[in-house]
Symmetry: C2
Amino acid sequence: MRLTPAMERYVLHWGEMGARWGVNRSVAQIHALLYLAPHPLTAEEIADTLAIARSNVSMSLKELLGWGLVRRTPVKGDRRDHFEALRDNWEILTRIVEERKKREIDPTLSILRACAMEAASDGQTARETKERIGGLLEFLETLSGWYDQVKGLPKPVLVGLMKMGGRIARFVPRGAGKRRGAGGER
Amino acid sequence: MRLTPAMERYVLHWGEMGARWGVNRSVAQIHALLYLAPHPLTAEEIADTLAIARSNVSMSLKELLGWGLVRRTPVKGDRRDHFEALRDNWEILTRIVEERKKREIDPTLSILRACAMEAASDGQTARETKERIGGLLEFLETLSGWYDQVKGLPKPVLVGLMKMGGRIARFVPRGAGKRRGAGGER
DNA sequence: CGAAGATTTCAGAAATTACTGAAATCCGCT
DNA sequence: AGCGGATTTCAGTAATTTCTGAAATCTTCG
């Protein structure tokens, strides 16, 4: 597939962006290409278009499939695999968030719990240090709990919330946020 | 400064976490150390504690100062610089989000605008491709606008919103989210 | 079953990124 | 001004990550 200059610019930028967020550049470029492409592409077309090795495409697609951002789509009369990207931007965003939470935030919570336990019983960790570990744990648990509730809301409601922007603030009960803990635990 | 096992575990994990999100490992470790430390540390103490070169500490601290996550604090009777990390978790989170938005999302928006312009006028980019670029641009602009409004709310209000969790949904006007605009594509 | 094509794996090469140590610079003090 | 310690810079090296090409494996169809 020939890239128009606009597409090329997009693909290169997306690759760069991925790299900054800890995603392999080729993976991000392939994602960008499939996102833009007007129809599903074969691995070989991808390799040719982006001038990267076929094997690299194979590995990268596996990665994208693992994130649920790309899927195989059979094409009648062609036994090669064709790939196409998820198109719905909300869906893309929530997949990425969900996956990163699972891969990174959740394990971090476990480790923080372990650190808090260890610090509580070792008699040598400074009081301030223990407080910080505990505080961070509580903070992340609160955020995490909030996210779990919000992600369950139907998409139109989320969109509605977004549209309300800062006006949503009028519905916060007075005096909220006064007690310690920012709420939401257990 | 001697690290207790709990601290060491925390610092190593944080370094790992940073690496996954595109932050240099040493930078993340230093941040973790300063976050836990019960008092400000000198660059040399940091280098000794983490067993990394003094020069590396210098560069990494510069980076952290640039993110606004660490600050120099003068210590009476010592002419060496001492460093301490921001302690407030909300503040830390918002600084990081703000900075990444500035460094990554805003430039992405510019590039998307440029791509959209270019694609509109080049006569060779597929219709579907143009729609996707335009749709993503609109989507990110919506998110970005929402963020700008929400970040201006006072912290206690934000905390209050978090506490409400999914219950906030009751305040979304019926029928919101129906028009085009805020969401992905159809 | 076996040939042709498609796909995946993986060891090593290439490229990138991170780290170090030596030298240069800065700074406060006398 | 000039000394001593603190800090920064940066060229080169080390470590890590990414990418490739050849070989192995899988799949489909005659």
